[in-house]
């Protein structure tokens, strides 16, 4: 017994060994630190799993989906039943914008909000109710504008520049999601993408950007007083000719006249003259969101839908490519969405637009409605003085040239004809970007009609139909 006592000394629990109590306590501290980090990570894991569970279920196709509605409750997509249950043409105007769960389109409302549309909750599983997304679109107005295109292809987008609500967004041709994809091979090219979000040659609508850059560099008064002569063509210092659509020329004009005439030689001389140095133009373009000379610009985001930024190449003011680009041709590309956004910043006269949004609210499968709408502003795209001055120029342009189309509305706009070279096939697109100041339809818009012929509907006529369609929508 005594021998055993010699072999073992059993100190009570609080009595630590011998020589290194501090070190043994530190062992506890390190273990506690490890445990704390692990527990915190575990909490984060639990939170992630619970919040992302609808996404996991949706992406693996193990749940049903809810509905996407327009602002008045009209169905734009219904994942709870076969879409063929709906009348033909129900989704014809919104197919490539709202999309579906087939996986054929990845940049649509449904694809970007598949998680919120899943009829699944971590607590109730697939027994949960109907998830719903309510958009700001007016299906009625959208259909009206879509049908107004007739047999022409193109895009039209409009938003309330005061609130940010996207009211109309159509892109033709458009897939009819109710008909499925059996005839995918024979569908017209572009049916699966919304052209309002894809950069295209902007034509003379680009002169708005160039004018803004000139105002910012040389001041409003100075630029408005500038006069250049147009003789139908202007040859730059490098010997390259910039032609005007008016073969006999516009003569000597000031800025307002040149803007209304959409005179290429005038704006080419403006760029070449150095009154607005090229570095200054590049600076303004960059602030507006252009990717200039291959530099990276921020991708635009409309409730998850991504929109490639505008781009152009400006290397030397004496260079044809630079001048041509500043006139909206050549390598300059802008999406109708971004043209509309700038018009919003001009319409409010501040140079900063109200951020457009498409998804108004969502109702969770458990019936809880979450309002997602909020009025947010973009960063300062250009100065308020430039915005106000361009607003005046555009309003006068509208008054002088579009009084027939916009008779009852107070509008401002700029048209453009874009020379497109599509893999060797050359054609011209018509564009119109503008805004309406009337309280009945406070919208900024952009219309694109592809390969428009003289007998086709004009962009101004389409804009009028659009304004009538959205008029009175509160």
């Amino acid at each position: 017994m005594a021998g055993k006592q010699k072999k073992m000394q059993r100190p009570s629990a609080p009595q630590l060994d011998i020589s290194a109590p501090r070190s043994t306590r530190r062992a506890g501290k390190w273990t506690a630190l490890l445990l704390t980090c692990f527990i915190l990570a575990l909490i984060y894991l639990g939170y992630t799993l619970i919040s992302k569970a609808p996404l996991y279920m949706a992406k693996s196709g193990k749940t049903t989906y809810g509905k996407v509605l327009d602002r008045d409750g009209d169905v734009l997509f219904d994942g709870s039943q076969p879409l063929t249950n709906y009348p033909p043409g129900q989704f014809a105007d919104v197919g490539n914008l709202v999309g579906d769960t087939s996986g054929q389109m990845s940049n649509t409302v449904v694809a970007k909000h598949i998680e919120e549309l899943a009829n699944y909750s971590f607590t109730y599983g697939n027994e949960a109710g109907d998830a719903t997304l309510q958009t700001t679109l007016s299906h009625r107005a959208n259909k009206t504008v879509y049908n107004a295109f007739g047999d022409k292809n193109g895009a039209a987008i409009a938003y309330n520049w005061k609130t940010g609500e996207i009211l109309v967004c159509v892109s033709r041709p458009c897939v009819d999601i109710a008909q499925g994809y059996a005839n995918l091979e024979s569908m017209p090219s572009g049916s699966l993408l919304c052209k309002a979000f894809f950069p295209t040659v902007p034509g003379s609508t680009q002169k708005v950007s160039t004018l803004i850059a000139a105002y910012e560099a040389a001041g409003v008064t100075g630029v408005n007083a500038l006069e250049y002569t147009c003789e139908g063509s202007w040859v730059n210092p490098n010997g390259d000719a910039i032609n005007c659509h008016q073969a006999y020329g516009h003569g000597t004009q000031d800025l307002q006249q040149a803007f209304e005439n959409s005179c290429n030689p005038y704006f080419a001389q403006l760029v070449q003259s150095g009154i607005a140095p090229l570095s200054s133009i590049i600076g303004t373009y960059t602030r507006m969101g252009y990717a200039v000379n291959g530099q990276k610009a921020e991708t635009l985001n409309l409730d998850g839908i991504t929109i490639n930024p505008a781009s152009t190449k400006l290397s030397d003011a004496n260079n044809f490519e630079t001048e041509w680009g500043a006139l909206g041709q050549g390598k300059t590309l802008v999406s109708p969405y971004q043209l509309m956004l700038w018009q919003g910043a001009i319409a409010n006269g501040s140079g900063s637009a109200v951020q457009p949004y498409l998804v108004k609210s969502r109702t969770t499968p458990t019936g809880e409605t979450v309002e997602l709408a909020s009025v947010r502003r973009t960063p300062q795209l250009f100065s308020a003085q430039a915005a106000q001055a361009v607003k005046d120029v555009e309003t006068l342009n509208s008054t002088h040239h579009y009084y027939v189309s916009f008779d009852v509305y107070s509008c401002g706009c700029k048209s453009g004809t874009a020379q497109v070279n599509d893999g060797g096939r050359e054609y011209e697109n018509s564009l119109l970007a503008g805004f309406c100041l009337d309280d009945r339809a406070p919208v900024a818009f952009c219309i694109l009609i592809e390969e428009r012929q003289s007998w086709d509907i004009t962009t101004a006529q389409l804009a009028r139909i659009l304004l009538d369609a959205v008029s009175g929508i509160s």
């Binding site: 100190p11 609080p14 020589s19 290194a20 070190s23 530190r26 273990t31 445990l35 799993l49 992406k59």
Partner: protein, 420 residues
Amino acid sequence: MTKTKPISHPFLLLLVLIAHAAMMILVALSFGITAEVVKLACIVLTADFIGSIILQFVQREACTVDTVLLLVIGMSTIYQSCFGGLEFALKHFAFGVGAFLMCQASYLVTRNPYRAERMKPLWYALFFGLVAAIRFLTGSRSMWIDLGFITIQPSEFVKPVFVLICASSIRTQLKKASFLGIHFVPDNLLLIFCTGVIAVLQWWCRDLGSLPTFLAVAGFAFLLRFCYLREKISARLMIFLILCVIAAAVFAWKAAPAYVQERLHSDIWADMSGTGYQQVKALTAIAEGGWFGKGAGNGTLIRVAASRTDIVFSTICEEWGLFTGMMTVILVLFLPASILTVPPRSYYHSGLAVGVAAVFMVQMTLNIFGSCNLIPFTGVTIPFISQGGSSMLASGILAGFLKAAQAPVLTDRSTAKGGA
């Protein structure tokens, strides 16, 4: 001196029995009262009794580890028996029993820090023996030795041996040598060398999954040594150490081989039927399970490879629910956390305890967070929960170290100087 009244052993056993009985009721609700359910219940509950009786014959001062071990092994047996349908997981249970016995054995070997420290040459021999076995006996650049009737993963057994190598006494730390005017502790130099050997071996095997575990063990071993020798860490030195760790992590990230880079940057949802298959299935299974699961045996994840090992957390969550899955993980955490209630009684045991804590927590992190796509997915196991004999036995040995860390300190009969 006030003396804390310990919780009685029978009371703890009762808690284990209640927990296992509750689980068996849930199993019976899923499968009905069938012969297989009764068999499973009898085996698990009897094992609890027998385990408890065995514990009467070994040291009982540190009952937390034993109790948690009994509870975890029983739970794990029930889980593994119910995945995808009821069939008693005999092999898993047998290795669970083996782990329990290993725990008692390693406890007996390491409870006396002086003796364990004196046996260090043996640990080094074992370490290099295992490394040689991996290098020369395993298949082409794999971690497995195939004996025909059974496959062994020697790298799992390297973990407890490495923890033993990492643990050090103060006496050893005070033994300094000098070479070309540079003073160093030979034991620390050997540890660096062993860590390097492990890193090279893992790189050669193209299996870097366990490397973070070894690095964590070595890292904490140095932290403990550092803490003792300097007594107080200066902020500047701590920042320097953190920067070194970050730099090493960045270097490892950049220098990782192609197949690791692929895992680091892969989008599982973009390749749902390829590289992301297991994780997609695992995450979907957790979502399907919800809070309380589909019910024992009602899961479908069992059809996916590694559902009992690398993605076992998801398999548990699918059948038993996220709540039970989390509780199981926390229960396993009770093992390393036990040293917070009864602190290690010696410096040597501190090293053992922190090493085991590092192994358990890093392995669980790699397994759980990897299968849930929060970090790159690697094929490591959750101690005691995942199927795998080598892992189970090695985890049992490690649990024995924890138990030893809480045992009373024995006096060193060979020398009276120095601390352990």
